[in-house]
Amino acid sequence: MQSNALNISINDVTKTYGDFYALKDVSLEVKSGEFLTLLGPSGSGKTTLLMVLAGFTRPDYGSVKFGNEEVVTKPPHLRDIGMVFQNYALFPHMNVEQNIGYPQKLRGKSKSEVKESVAEALSIVKLDGLGHRGVAELSGGQKQRVALARAIVFKPQILLMDEPLSALDKKLREEMQIELRQLHDSLTMTTVYVTHDQKEALTMSDRIAVINDGELKQLGSPNEIYTNPNNAFIADFIGESSLLPAKVISNKTYLGASEIMISHPSKDDGDYLLVIRPEKLFLANGKEKDTNLFSGIVEGSIFQGESQLLVIKLDPGSFGEQSLRMRLPNGSNIGQKVPISGEKISVGLRKSDSFLVE
């Protein structure tokens, strides 16, 4: 992933609207050549941060550096970044070729240079031969590709994308996720990508920056964020999870009346949440080592294609009034029978998969 694309340093960036904090002391280092995703729910400040990078929003204070150059006061058109907007914003009075050639024209390139770079960009996004189409004659997916080609035709070192796939249907979106990632890998670019779709973020990113209420909540690789969320918001937002209230009393962790084992060193006394990923649970036979066992009754058993979702009501006497979700992959458990509603069940969760968040 080492490349000579520009890195981005964001330092203490704060943006307020009235007394509302859209961004609060955000500091973030985007490495050279990295694919970094800003992930957060609607209204969390992702677009605001991207607009600060693009130069359309001036932060109240803080610094943004591309490489070693401070750019906070630099106007957008001098920043030399590629940008893809959510609604594509193609220019309807220009055809595909003119749209893609526009940044090159702005850079004073000769006709033949423009033509050459447009042809190259078209082939990168797999739209060869569509150069003469009008913008209105394109499908949603094709528009998206044109917008992308237009943003990379001048070989920017930094590419910013704001939910570029959200208008596409699920299948196309999943194809494009992989294509976008391949594109990033084949060009020398530092990419900052915005999405509120956690699965998309997990699929595409080198690292994910989770943002909520204008604050950076966690920064890490998809694996780190998924397996080690550092608070309940992230545990809940990323992937599926059941969050069960737990207590720590003098280095021991209790769920209801039962003591459980956790993967990390014990926390200070107080109230926490136990994070349980549905796919980490397994049907237990009582012989496993280093495993927390939960007994209960199957409340619902739902076929969902590739997996079977079980909702389990835990034994109130030992664990208190709560239920958890479990996912059994279909097909890999041949010979095992699928638990049905009303059945008594005992499920296990390895100690290494059990952790608490605040």
């Binding site: 359309f56 058109h77 001098l78 970044i81 914003a89 220019f91 309807p92």
Partner: protein, 279 residues
């Protein structure tokens, strides 16, 4: 009369059920147009006076218009001179009102709802105030700057009333325009000014053309401000007609009116054509 049973709407209303509506509408349109059209036959009259219907026909009043002499003793230049003044002022009004109105519309559509709510009423206030007040105000204002009876004063006065119309036309075009496109252009390397001229302007050009035509018409048809701030060799045609009507009923007026109707409705038709085009 089987055609009376033809359906004229999706809900299967027959022509004969709707006939009264069509007749009524035609009547209303007729009443709207006729008063202006009466002057047309009158302008071809051979008589000394304005009369309707004309008893004899001639082109003498057109002759009087097109070949008028300048010593008519009525306090304005000749008819043709006044016509040229009007055209000159109207064209100059386009060049003052359209850019200012367009810039105002651009500014408003890029500002917050609160700012827009305050500025918009102020900007269109020349439309809301009775025009005679505007005219009196302009007169005293221009006296200070020795601009009464000057083309500059007239153009400024007319631009004042044309600008709100330009503002409204361009603002409604910008409402249907996605400002994100300008953002994209700027991110791709265009300065804001360049983004406006290369991306925004081409997409609202038909509205701008409409705005130009409306500016022209507003100035060309305007009487009251002209009465106050124009005079002598810089009289507009509308002012000249007004003065002529006051002193004597001269059928030349009918000939001039006919020409003005043709010019105005021609431009209006053009405006419609451009207005219908999707920006």
């Amino acid at each position: 009369m089987s055609f009376l049973n033809r359906n004229v709407s999706e809900t299967q209303i027959r022509l004969k059920d709707r006939l009264w509506l069509y007749i009524f509408s035609i009547l209303v349109l007729f009443l709207l147009i006729v008063p202006s059209l009466v002057v047309i036959p009158m302008s071809f009259s051979g008589s000394q006076y304005l009369e309707f219907p004309p008893k004899s026909f001639s082109l003498r009043w057109y002759e009087a218009y097109f070949f008028s002499s300048s010593d008519n003793g009525m306090g304005f230049n000749d008819w043709m001179g006044a016509t040229w003044t009007s055209i000159k002022v109207a064209v100059l009004t386009i060049f003052v009102a359209t850019p200012i109105g367009t810039m105002a519309a651009y500014g408003l559509s890029n500002s917050s709802a609160r700012v827009r709510g305050i500025l918009f009423p102020i900007m269109i206030s020349p439309m809301a105030v009775p025009i005679i007040l505007v005219a009196i105000g302009l007169f005293y204002f221009f006296v200070q700057f020795k601009m009464v009876n000057s083309i500059t004063g007239l153009v400024l006065g007319h631009s004042l009333v044309a600008m709100p119309l330009v503002l409204i036309i361009v603002l409604s075009a910008l409402r249907n325009y996605d400002m994100n496109q300008e953002k994209v252009a700027r991110s791709l390397g265009a300065s804001r000014l360049r983004a406006f001229f290369e991306i925004t302007l081409p997409q609202i050009k038909f509205s701008i053309i409409s705005a130009c035509l409306i500016s022209f018409l507003t100035s060309f048809d305007e009487v009251i401000i002209s009465l106050f701030v124009s005079g002598g060799d810089n009289s507009t045609i509308t002012r000249a007609m007004f003065l002529a009507l006051r002193d004597q009923i001269d059928p030349t007026i009918a000939a001039i009116s006919t020409v003005l109707i043709i010019i105005s409705s021609g431009l209006l038709l053009l405006t419609q054509l451009f207005g219908d085009k999707k920006d």
